[in-house]
Amino acid sequence: MTYFPEEVVEHIVDFLGSHRDRNAVSTVCKAWYQVERLSRRNVFVGNCYAIRPERVMARFPWMKSLGVKGKPHFADFNLVPYDWGGFAQPWIEAAARGCPGLEELRLKRMVVTDDDLELLARSFPSFKSLVLVSCEGFSTDGLAAIATYCRGLRELDLQENEVEDHGRQWLSCFPDSCTSLVSLNFACLKGEINTNALERLVARCPDLRSLKLNRAISVESLNRILARAPHLVDLGTGSMMVNHHTEAYHRLINAFLGCKSLRSLSGFWDASSCCLQAVYPVCVNLTALNLSYAPAIQGDDLIKLICLCFKLQKLWVLDCIGDKGLAAVASTCKDLQELRVFPSDIYGAGTTAVTEEGLVAISSGCSKLNSLLYFCYQMTNTALVTVAKNCPHFTRFRLCILDPGKPDPVTDQPLDEGFGAIVRSCKNLRRLSLSGLLTDKVFLYIGMHAEHLEMLSIAFAGDSDKGMVYVLNGCKNLRKLEIRDCPFGDDALLKDVTKYETMRSLWMSSCDVTLGGCRALAAKMPSLNVEIINESDEADEFQENLSDLHKVEKLYVYRTVARGRTDAPDFVWIL
């Protein structure tokens, strides 16, 4: 066996970017494990309870960038109780002790407190980038600490977090010496901002390329900001409320004319159609456009805007774009790769929404489409078959028919064949969300054809345990399976228990699994945490008093090397 000195191995390993490749390298032998762990700079922990933070820090002492995810995905839809867990504190504390050279931290669906942010700000002298996605538990006081103590901060990116507003002064906490910002996103903040401080901050950060303002920022302020930062590449516009007869509107037009580097736009919170003309000059260069928070932009004005954006690769809109608008997208945006159509009226009958026609139009016009999230009121098998034929490159396909269990309205059939066509045609499909009326058959198709599927979301579907078993048997690369309101029970759960060791997690809520089934799973697989989330009145009862036949409302199973959890609340039972 040829001997490779460690330096050579390290040099080779340096070329490996992906976590998967590096993980593979580390399992070859002890020597390679050592080389890899000391040279690893980016660490990603997909489930914060899969491993204790101290172990991560001990294994990767020279880590520069850490990403951690907390709550399961269905927490986004209020299915996980508020204080279930996912606390950032142990991670930040462990990193402060074990990896003081940390430069980047990315947290998703975690509970982050102001104290955590202050500890973070004070513990890492080289800290450069903080990205918080769908987190909660902190206020603008925590942001003030970040602003105050993180010298050399390059990125503060807050995406869709619930942040308590404790006042506008946090932005003023960036010292005059802070000139390093490249990316600042505070679009999710609800409160007022000190606009003077913001404008001065923007003016002294020459490298600023991405700036996403919140709704409190007026057009007047936006004008001043754009005047000072014409080199922005990515802009969240703030309110954009302006009347097209005013001075402010004319200044806005000029401001956008000066932004030659803009490639991505979002925001438009209060923009009305009449002021869209101001952004026409930048449309021709746009690669990303997010109008999903702008319900007033619709109809012909929206279509006029879209027709200018022929370089668009990513588009997020509301369903008031209509099938007609989607047809315009299809004929204009030939480079489109990602489309998300969100519902604008989730409580109503939706007479102005999109249908299967819009999706078919998109598929015939945008052959490069690989990522879709589509909310609609109806879908047909024929349409899905057509879409599958036109767009074989889907890696992410999420279809949400808003009426649960709704069949094909033309044939009254389930949508098994339609989704079957998708999984057969899209050989690289990694993520799939199903909806509409579906029988076990669709799961048979998925198990047979979706070889690369990693994440599957199922709701109100299937007839029997067979459905779930098809998926668990067939999808070799499955990592995350989340199921709600399906008739899957203990037989399916226990059919192949070792499968769950190959996956990150399984979520089942409002299904037919019983306490007995979950206990059996926990007994057979000590390498898994089997969590029962029990919010009903019976939670007052001790677990022992409940019979094995008791139906489990919410089950969350995940592999872990850290047995149990020390921070689980009363209503979470870890079997």
Partner: protein, 198 residues
């Protein structure tokens, strides 16, 4: 009307599980349909809504304008939209229902109507300028620059929440916005009576 209502119910899209008739969860307080909630206390409703928002178009005049339909069953966690986005949508819906926003504007003799968002304008002057701009292709004369300017061809009137036809400009702007349901630009002889100052 009752019969129509019942057949409507059959075709109604619902968020409950198939086969269920009654809502499983307590009905949501948000009623669907195109009807804006007419605020009992205008001033209060307006005072809260100093941040404007644009109301989603809800298909006025179709299905459900006549009677407030039963609120839909809300399935927990459905549709699968992030809470942040749902809250954002809902907050704007609530804001939008606090005061009149998008109103139709008709002009006598014009072949079609327009719609404007009253919240975008800071006062009567801006409103008149906007209407001038919007309808100048139809008009032969100028719009009255100040209220009660007689001798002009047109008068801007509005229908308030009681259904009465009123001259624009009499009441404070904030009160006007909260009570205006639609605008009508009247011309010629009809306007003269309204246009002159008393």
């Amino acid at each position: 009307m009752e019969a129509a209502g019942e057949s409507l119910r059959d075709t109604e899209l619902r968020l409950g599980l198939p086969g269920t008739d009654a809502p499983e969860k307590p009905a949501s307080t948000v009623t669907r349909g195109g009807k804006r909630a007419l605020p009992e206390d205008d001033e209060e409703g307006y005072a809260k809504s100093n941040k404007s928002s644009s109301e989603e178009e809800q298909g006025e005049g179709d299905l459900c304008c006549q009677e407030p339909p039963a609120a839909k069953a809300q399935v927990v966690g459905w549709p699968p939209i992030r809470s942040y986005r749902k809250n954002s949508l809902h907050a704007r819906k609530v804001e939008g229902e606090a005061a009149g926003l998008y109103v139709k504007v008709s002009m006598d003799g014009a072949p079609y109507l327009r719609k404007i968002d009253l919240k975008v304008y800071k006062g009567y002057k801006e409103l008149r300028e906007a209407l001038d701009d919007m309808f100048k292709c139809f008009s032969l004369g100028e719009f009255p620059r100040k209220e009660g300017c007689s001798g002009s061809e047109y008068a801007i009137t509005y229908e308030d929440k009681d259904g009465d036809l009123m001259l624009v400009g009499d009441v404070p702007w904030e009160m006007f916005i909260s009570s205006c349901r639609r605008l009508r630009i009247m011309k010629g002889s009809e306007a003269r009576g309204l246009g002159s100052r008393h």
